[in-house]
Symmetry: C2
Subunit: 334 residues, 2 copies
Amino acid sequence: LNEADLIGTIERLLPAAPPDVLAGIGDDAAVVRIGDRLVLLSTDMLVEGVDFDRSTITARDLGYRAIAVNLSDIAAMGGSPRYCLVALGMPRDPDPAWFVELVSGMVEAAREHAVAIVGGDLSRAETVVLSVTATGESVPGGVVLRSGAKPGDRLVVTGRLGAAAGGLRLLAAGPREAARARSAGWGRDLLDAQCRPAARVAEGQVLARAGATAMIDVSDGLARDLGRVCAASAVGAIVRLDRLPLAPGLQDLLRLTGDDPLDLALHGGEDLELLATLPAAAVEPAAATLAERFGTPLTDIGEMRADPDARIVATSQDGAERPLAPAGWDHFGT
Amino acid sequence: LNEADLIGTIERLLPAAPPDVLAGIGDDAAVVRIGDRLVLLSTDMLVEGVDFDRSTITARDLGYRAIAVNLSDIAAMGGSPRYCLVALGMPRDPDPAWFVELVSGMVEAAREHAVAIVGGDLSRAETVVLSVTATGESVPGGVVLRSGAKPGDRLVVTGRLGAAAGGLRLLAAGPREAARARSAGWGRDLLDAQCRPAARVAEGQVLARAGATAMIDVSDGLARDLGRVCAASAVGAIVRLDRLPLAPGLQDLLRLTGDDPLDLALHGGEDLELLATLPAAAVEPAAATLAERFGTPLTDIGEMRADPDARIVATSQDGAERPLAPAGWDHFGT
């Protein structure tokens, strides 16, 4: 049973959603109608030893990241995050300084996006588990689902790809190598992308207003997350590999660890960049707005095309098309 | 650091809540204003080996309970639950039958209260962790906080106390004893209260309409949860121990394990009964409504009284007052 099988089982067992649920399981966030508002609801669990390693991430960064990954889900709907709840499991007798730093990191991430942490739950657990729930609201431009991509839409992505996965590989290379790479400059972006990822909240709202037809955050790798957009929209995609905005530090990482930058970008995950589909005419104005307001690059990396089987193909500079499997991070994969 | 210390640390680090947050950390659920509605938000984490034992609770009961404990938090505000999100951590290669039963139990609990499960997250974890978030809406009668109890208010509780803790002790006595007690009848109520607790959702709404001034669910034992109401309301309480509605099976359990029924009721926790304060004139009509509509007893167990130090005293049949420490379940206590 991989993650998709498990989610399929859940979908099969759930009764039909009531009419006030506009989007349920299967998008970055659920969309429900509450009174006169469309409300977004999303949850993410981070487990020690699986999603993070307490020996390589500071408590402050961990708290920051736990909030950021949730706000990213709201961002991927084009929404505005509002409230967070934090359920935290941790061993008995937590180090008070560690705990203060953890909460401070959460507060920091929440404050950056004017989000209020309004509740939570504490439980004892053998290892640290952080489960955050974020709520958001739709903003003018509406809610962007995964399912609206149309043949002919351009495929765009914010920021740089592969940085978070590169940071993870750098941490795995050892504390000395990570520290050296950080002080040499190129490692800092990779480590920050892994430990203190930025949720592209404002960017998501700009893309929604620009007419994004589908959007997702790249949390499990470009290939897998694009595969989800294609499957939900029942369209295919062609990705120009030579156009992928690879994180600059990946070339240095390649020399240190041998990790292929393209592989990290396609299958590495955790980047929290936004992958969106847009009508062709909307790309340039959106890119200009993102660059001007936030200094965030927006790169056109391909096109959606008619394909009921939702296949992805990749092209290199030689122009030849090769199938790209929607593979990436899977908690339950082999 | 016990649970209260940790929560205190969090409260100290959080910035002041924005005006749309009517109640934040420190109640059963947060209360936020979204558009024209008051929305309730609550989260609860259940950790294997701490909050449940997979060898003594079926997957279906575990799923049911994970949803019920969250709906109980909405019930304790007098609200109407609407949506749930489920974050689930579990070991790789979960038994498919176990997983189906787990989800089915969740669906069952959600269906009983017309709640939609709209999203979630799956993660790998060494042991099973279930983190559920519930949203709700206020209903006519308004939101009932912990902080509104007034001197002179009567103190009432729904259902029977000590059953869930009794069920836990019965499970600890061994599978053979638990099975025998179940088939003898008296064990069934205790085991069900532990494994398939009922969230008092409809009862909470009746109590809110009846004018409840404060309300909480008895998740950590009567003494501790009453202590929370007293502290939040800055009033004291007098509890008539001879009036406590002890779960009937506790007398049989006493003969088997020697566990004191009164101790289980006061300090055992997990009962999901509602503890409320009401103006005296409202008690009888509310009790009549609960009995008639749901067959749920409502018992008057004492009175709130002026005491800025929020102390609780208990009286027995002899009328003597003794202090009652607000002790009970604490995840981080010694």
